[in-house]
């Protein structure tokens, strides 16, 4: 059995009085592709935001590469992790956002180069070459000197993926990356994700509403409902053969 690269153990999350996640247990293995589906407000995005250290769990443990993400040992006791610990653990994780979040004051190439240069302190020539290769891979070799405002939504999202990939993450998180796109631009972005999924051996977690896409690339599909994982299994098990009523209803609404 391969050791999981990410483990959630009874993770809860509340925002004020509303309980969003009520006990998530989850194992993700290296190179595994996991799709999280479910109604809006079910806490899908919160799961990956906690893994990216953008939200702190209310209780429970998240283990990344064998290290507890949000807690660290101090004088024999587990205490809340500080920034330095978080940075050490999240270095293997990359994320692509629904609204791209490109840096508007930098060119496309600078967007890709800043983090490897200053965070990983890699040599400039190497970073530049890798960034250009990655931008070429997502089909934007001719846009490297432009600014994000000059690109279409689909192009921006492809830059965001190149920017994350240049950091060579072992775990990539995709947060509804096609939800903010015009319908005709969704295809080009999914194509890039499909290419990454087929050719790279990193683990991927996708929060998505693209059911057919999830079915196509995911090794495992999680159906999240009212703060718990209500159903999980291979894509065909969950999407095509599940008897869970809420899931049927959800899928039905989607395909209608």
């Amino acid at each position: 059995m391969i050791e999981p690269i990410v483990t959630f153990q009874d993770v809860h999350k509340s925002f004020g009085n509303s309980k969003v996640l009520k006990g998530i247990d989850l194992d993700i293995r290296p190179a595994e592709k996991v799709a999280i589906i479910g109604p809006s407000g079910s806490g899908k995005t919160t799961i990956i935001r906690m893994l990216m250290t953008l939200e702190e769990p209310t209780s429970g443990d998240i283990i990344v590469n064998g290290t507890n993400l949000w807690k660290m040992e101090k004088k024999g006791r587990l205490v809340r992790a500080h920034e330095k610990h978080l940075r050490a653990v999240r270095g293997d994780i990359g994320m692509v956002f629904q609204h791209f979040n490109l840096f508007p004051h930098m060119t496309i190439l600078e967007n890709c180069m800043t983090a490897p240069l200053h965070v990983k302190k890699e040599p400039k020539a190497e970073v530049k070459q890798r960034s250009l290769e990655m931008l070429d891979r997502v089909g934007l070799a001719d846009k490297v000197d432009q600014y994000p405002s000059q690109l279409s939504g689909g192009q921006k999202q492809r830059v965001a993926m190149a920017r994350a990939l240049v950091m060579r993450p072992k775990i990539m998180l995709f947060d509804e990356v096609t939800s903010a796109l015009d319908p005709e631009l969704v295809g080009e972005v999914l194509q890039v994700i499909r290419d990454i999924a087929k050719n790279d051996d990193m683990a991927m977690i996708l929060v998505t509403h693209e059911m057919d896409f999830a079915l196509d690339i995911a090794d495992k599909v999680l159906f999240l409902d009212e703060g718990v994982i209500a159903e999980q299994g291979s894509a065909s098990e969950v999407i095509e053969h599940s008897s869970n009523e809420r899931l049927q209803e959800f899928l039905h609404r989607f395909r209608a």
Binding site: L54, R90, N101, A115
Partner: protein, 223 residues
């Protein structure tokens, strides 16, 4: 003809004050921006004491008169505490910069908060440290938003420099007052020329502010 002759006589006298006005402006602007950044960043600090202390500074200097602050620095503080600021130039520069620094710190704070939250989240996802997030992502965008307001406050600081004539500095207004007191009938023409002087000094700042406005429209993600 009398008018032109008067202008020719008064003009050179007023230019004697030019150096003082300009150096006080430059000093006040430099320290003003510096105080604005320090105070603005302190108000965003996670340390409660730092936030409260800076808040107190901002409210005191915004809530009281600049002339009175100037007199405090120049007359009262040396007498009470024996702290000499060195010269009336320093008293003027420090008073104006503390006062405008307080106002501008709100711009620094507001602009940093106005950079979209997604920007710092993307920076976290690229594993940047708190400092790197500020340095590479937040500040470059926040400064673009600050620039037009900084331009406006620079123009206001220029006008505020005229107060240093009240602590015996020989700036443009001081020389204007001297000419008027020796030749009362020329008051209108003297003060007209003083206005023209300030306006001409303000022109580059006005121009620069416009430039900054168009520059700052580019390259900011907000919302």
């Amino acid at each position: 003809m009398v008018l032109i002759q008067a202008i020719i006589e008064i003009f050179p006298d007023l230019t004697k004050g030019l150096a003082i006005t300009i150096t006080v402006l430059i000093g006040a602007a430099f320290f003003g921006y510096l105080f604005a950044f320090i105070a603005g960043l302190c108000r965003l600090s996670s340390k409660l004491f730092l936030r409260k202390f800076t808040g107190l500074y901002v409210e005191i200097f915004r809530g009281t008169s600049l002339i009175v602050q100037l007199f405090w620095l120049y007359y009262a503080i040396p007498m009470l505490f024996g702290i000499e600021l060195g010269s009336n130039w320093w008293a003027g520069v420090i008073a104006i910069s503390l006062n405008y620094g307080a106002y501008m710190s709100e711009i620094v704070r507001g602009s940093i908060l106005a950079v979209a939250k997604g920007q710092s989240e993307a920076a976290i996802a690229l594993n940047m440290s708190r400092y790197q997030r500020m340095r590479f992502v937040i500040l470059p965008q926040a400064i673009r938003m600050m620039l037009p307001e900084f331009g406006n406050y620079s123009i206001q600081m220029l006008k505020a420099t005229s107060l240093v004539s009240l602590i015996g500095m020989e700036d443009i207004l001081y020389h204007g007052n001297i000419i008027r007191s020796t030749n009362l009938s020329q008051a209108p023409i003297v003060y007209l020329l003083v206005l023209v002087f300030y306006f001409i000094l303000a022109l580059p700042l006005i121009f620069l502010t416009r430039k900054m406005e168009s520059f700052s429209k580019k390259g900011v993600a907000s919302g």
